[in-house]
């Protein structure tokens, strides 16, 4: 397990380094002169020179790259050009909207998909199975941001149970915060739950045909006991893969959903920065998102090995 973990850790580090190269190259190398890009064509020469000095553009590329990376490692994400405040502070405020939203959606998605998938698999070919599978077909075809608008139309505009947008803030209490994230989380979660339910069902169906299931029944377990004790646990491995992938989709998808609900999260920060051409913010926030995705996938890999000891030896 230790060697497995170390190997995964090494590949995590390499991924992060390469990702940082890519982001640095796209943001700081391709535009040629980031300073004139940020200020536009009509910038005065002295303003341009001042920004170049502020961004450290007079230094060589390797020096700038290492300054950026070591800054990020120590929590210094640079100073936003438009807001004149440290990017780290801006990110810290907003990540407390984006991250809880993604986790909330992941929990909802799992809570819907697991029972639905298990139910469908245990009634394979029946009416219940057909109904669940039909619902998942529809679920994967619905764009989450449109679903979000429909939720607003029904639950905010007509029924007035929720506000149509905005975030109450965690200082108003946990419940108020969660309440304002509920519609966005449902919108994010449902299409993902459809995918997850399909994976859960097909993975379970694979397990139901295995020899150990016959053995379990032969030793006197009921169908239900055999299903829960043996099939569901073994079916978890492919489901975990999808869960890991889903977290990155939920984080990225949150960027769009935040636009629908006017939530002050990382997504809105990125869009404000793109329209203000504030490359420093874009660079750091994108790196942070990619970092989160890579780390989550690393954790999923470790969970596999924990769930399935065979994997520890193979890799």
């Amino acid at each position: 397990m230790l060697i497995y973990t170390l190997r995964r850790l090494a590949s995590l580090t390499v991924s992060l380094i390469v990702a940082s190269f890519v982001i640095f190259a796209v943001i700081e190398v391709i535009p040629g002169d980031p300073a004139s890009f940020m200020l536009g064509v009509n910038a005065r020469p002295d303003t341009l020179a001042a920004l170049r000095a502020e961004l450290g553009l007079d230094q060589s590329l390797p020096v700038r790259y290492f300054a950026w990376v070591s800054g990020m490692l120590t929590g210094d994400f640079g100073i936003s050009y438009t807001y004149k405040t440290p990017v780290a502070g801006m990110v810290a405020d907003r990540i407390w909207v984006s991250l809880p939203l993604a986790i909330y959606a992941l929990i909802l998605s799992t809570a819907i998909a697991f029972p639905a998938g298990i139910y469908a698999a245990s009634r394979r070919g029946g009416v219940g199975d057909t109904a669940v599978m039909g619902a998942t077909q529809l679920g994967v075809a619905i764009p989450n941001f449109w679903f979000a608008m429909i939720l607003v139309l029904i639950f905010a505009i007509n029924l007035r149970w929720f506000s149509a947008g905005g975030f109450a803030g965690w200082d108003k209490g946990l419940f108020a915060g969660l309440w304002s994230l509920t519609l966005p989380a449902i919108a994010l979660a449902l299409p993902q739950a459809a995918i997850l339910a399909r994976v859960m069902r097909s993975s379970l169906l694979d397990m139901l045909g295995e020899d150990f299931m016959r053995t379990a029944r032969a030793k006197g377990l009921t169908r239900r006991q055999a299903l829960w004790r043996h099939a569901v646990r073994n079916a978890m491995i492919p489901v975990l893969t999808i869960l890991g992938l889903q977290f990155s989709f939920l984080l990225a998808g949150g960027i769009v959903i935040e636009q629908v609900f006017f939530l002050p999260g990382l997504g809105r920060l990125i869009f404000q920065s793109i329209s203000a051409r504030d490359l420093i913010v874009v660079e750091s926030v994108v790196m942070l998102l990619v970092f989160l995705v890579i780390v989550v996938n690393f954790l999923v890999d470790l969970t596999y090995a924990w769930v399935d000891p065979r994997l520890r030896r193979r890799t």
């Binding site: 535009p31 890009f37 994967v140 449109w146 608008m149 998102l289 995705v293 996938n297």
Partner: protein, 271 residues
């Protein structure tokens, strides 16, 4: 033939037909504004109603179909065109350093969801349909590379490949003459899936303003326009939204049906 496949084929054909028809005819000209008739519900004059500029929604949907299908199609083309050769190369050189580099490169792209790629591209180059194609296309590359590598690897251990090697064929020639034809069906099925995902991604990108720019019509932009009008004219949101759902549903059913027909092994145990 399964019912799902027929429904999928019909829905896909309708959307494709509307997109093709829009090149020669739309009910109204979408560049003509008719503010006197803005936000009208569906009627016999405007079958699907009008938007906040009085433009005919059916015409907008038809023009938007063009954008969506074109973006998704080219993005799948990029994914297949680059991904399949990479996957076949990796499989042919299994275990070698190039295989390792290709597969790790794939993992890396997966760390950049297409939305994040789109953000990076638009931050530097600005928003356009072309940049949306690139963003979705880049994300498609590892999908096809992984799938074709996996499928090719299982073929490399088969007897007919051994026979080809004994006959003196090189790895590149075997990949081209024997492996590729045998994985084509699988790639077509995955292509349908990526195509429908591409349509969803294009809609999301143009909704947040990172895709096609006005005056190019796109379903995502129609939804963005409709958002502030939800209260007074919900049909402006329902029309493009349902169009997307119908299109994606149709393509998914078509893909499932194709998979069943092209891969007999899956006929018995479908998931």
């Amino acid at each position: 033939m399964k019912v799902g496949f027929v429904i999928g084929a019909v829905l896909s054909a309708i959307v494709l037909g509307l997109a093709v028809l829009s090149f020669v005819w739309t009910p109204y000209d979408i560049t003509q504004l008719d503010v006197a008739n803005k936000l009208k519900g569906p009627s016999d004059v405007h079958w699907l109603g009008t938007d906040h500029f009085g433009r005919d929604l059916l015409s907008m949907v038809m023009m938007g179909a063009r954008t969506s299908l074109a973006v998704a199609l080219v993005a799948v083309g990029i994914g297949m065109g680059l991904g399949i050769p990479l996957g076949l190369t990796a499989a042919a050189l299994q275990g070698g350093w190039l295989d390792e580099v290709i597969m790790r490169g794939n993992d890396l792209i997966f760390a950049f969801p297409s939305l994040v790629i789109a953000i990076l591209i638009t931050a530097v180059f600005g928003a356009s349909a072309v940049n949306a194609i690139i963003a979705i296309g880049i994300f498609n590359i590892p999908v096809f590379a992984r799938l074709s590598r996996g499928a090719a690897l299982s073929l490399w251990s088969r007897d007919f490949i051994l026979a080809a090697r004994v006959a003196g064929k090189g790895k590149a020639r075997i990949s081209w003459e024997h492996i590729l034809p045998n994985i084509t069906n699988l790639m077509i099925v995955q292509g349908t899936i990526q195509f429908s995902l591409g349509i969803l991604a294009e809609a999301a990108l143009s909704y947040i303003g990172l895709g096609a720019q006005p005056p190019t019509a796109s379903w995502g932009r129609m939804l963005a326009d409709a958002q502030t009008l939800l209260y007074i004219a919900p049909h402006t949101a329902l029309v493009p939204g349902l169009t997307i759902v119908i299109t994606v549903l149709g393509l998914n059913l078509l893909g499932d049906g194709l998979r069943d027909m092209l891969d007999p092994r899956l006929r018995v145990d479908r998931s």
